[in-house]
């Protein structure tokens, strides 16, 4: 097994890990009880999964076809960048649109914070 084959195997391995992670995070998305917890599964682990897979693919092409694309790296970075943001936004939207949390939720700090802020503003007027 020469180096390039090694790298090829590594890349494939990365891809496989990514795929497995994707399935795991997908499991999360049905198993978790409410939207806030599900968004963890969807955005965090999923991002990792895609990151691994894409890296694997990138390495594969670099090793096998000696195709090195800066745009691809940029792309990976940006998927990495946008995915959490969208997760953040959608969760916030969910919160704002008053999607119920699961019953096992212990604490809702944001609610307190907003509550507090509104009270301050109310006083100010």
């Amino acid at each position: 097994m020469n180096v390039s084959e090694m790298i090829e195997w590594i890349s494939v391995f990365l891809i496989l890990i990514g795929a497995i992670l994707a399935v795991i995070s997908a499991t999360g998305i049905i198993r978790f009880p409410d939207v806030y917890t599900r968004s963890h599964a969807a955005t965090k682990s999923s991002t990792l999964a895609v990151l691994l897979t894409l890296s694997g693919v990138f390495i594969y092409f670099w090793a096998v076809e000696s195709y090195f694309s800066v745009r691809f790296i940029l792309g990976i970075l940006f998927v990495f960048l946008t995915s959490p943001v969208s997760g953040h936004l959608i969760t916030r939207a969910a919160y704002r649109s008053k999607v119920k949390m699961t019953e096992s939720t212990v604490e809702d700090q944001l609610s307190d914070a907003i509550h507090e802020k509104e009270q301050i503003e109310g006083k100010g007027e």
């Binding site: 745009r71 940029l74 940006f78 960048l81 946008t82 943001v85 953040h88 936004l89 916030r92 704002r96």
Partner: protein, 140 residues
């Protein structure tokens, strides 16, 4: 309720920049690789859409003071114009030409009239998509 969009704005500014760059790249590489006028235009348009979503119309208007209807019309004019252009050279309507030129710095470069045509296409796509979205949103 006021929202804090710092994260969104920060990311969008970066992403839009990337999309713009990539759209230009896609547009230019379209002749030999996937891409082209349509796709370039669409991607560019989606960058604008992203801007509109993340910011607000007034702000973007100030930054990019185009009348997108005219952009679209200009694009269409360019596209159709290349058709008429070929008449000037006594060719059939819409005949495209390409050639290889030795340019300083760039080396042997292929220059084609398709590029002009596709520029028009891209402009129309951008102009129209933005016009549509803006028209809908601005309707009161």
């Amino acid at each position: 309720m006021k929202t804090n969009n710092v994260i969104l704005h920060a990311v969008v500014k970066l992403v839009v920049f990337i999309i713009l760059t990539l759209s230009v790249y896609l547009f230019l590489s379209g002749h030999h690789k996937p891409g082209g006028g349509f796709i370039g235009g669409l991607v560019l348009a989606s960058a604008f859409v992203l801007l509109f979503i993340a910011f607000d119309i007034e702000a973007i208007r100030k930054a990019i003071p185009f009348d997108f209807k005219r952009v679209a019309a200009l694009g269409a004019f360019i596209s159709v114009g290349t058709g008429f252009g070929s008449l000037l050279f006594g060719e059939n309507f819409l005949t495209q030409a390409f050639g290889y030129f030795d340019l300083p710095f760039f080396g042997t470069t292929e220059l084609t009239t398709v590029t002009i045509f596709e520029t028009g296409v891209a402009l129309v796509v951008v102009g129209v998509v933005v016009t549509i979205i803006l028209s809908i949103v601005e309707d009161v």
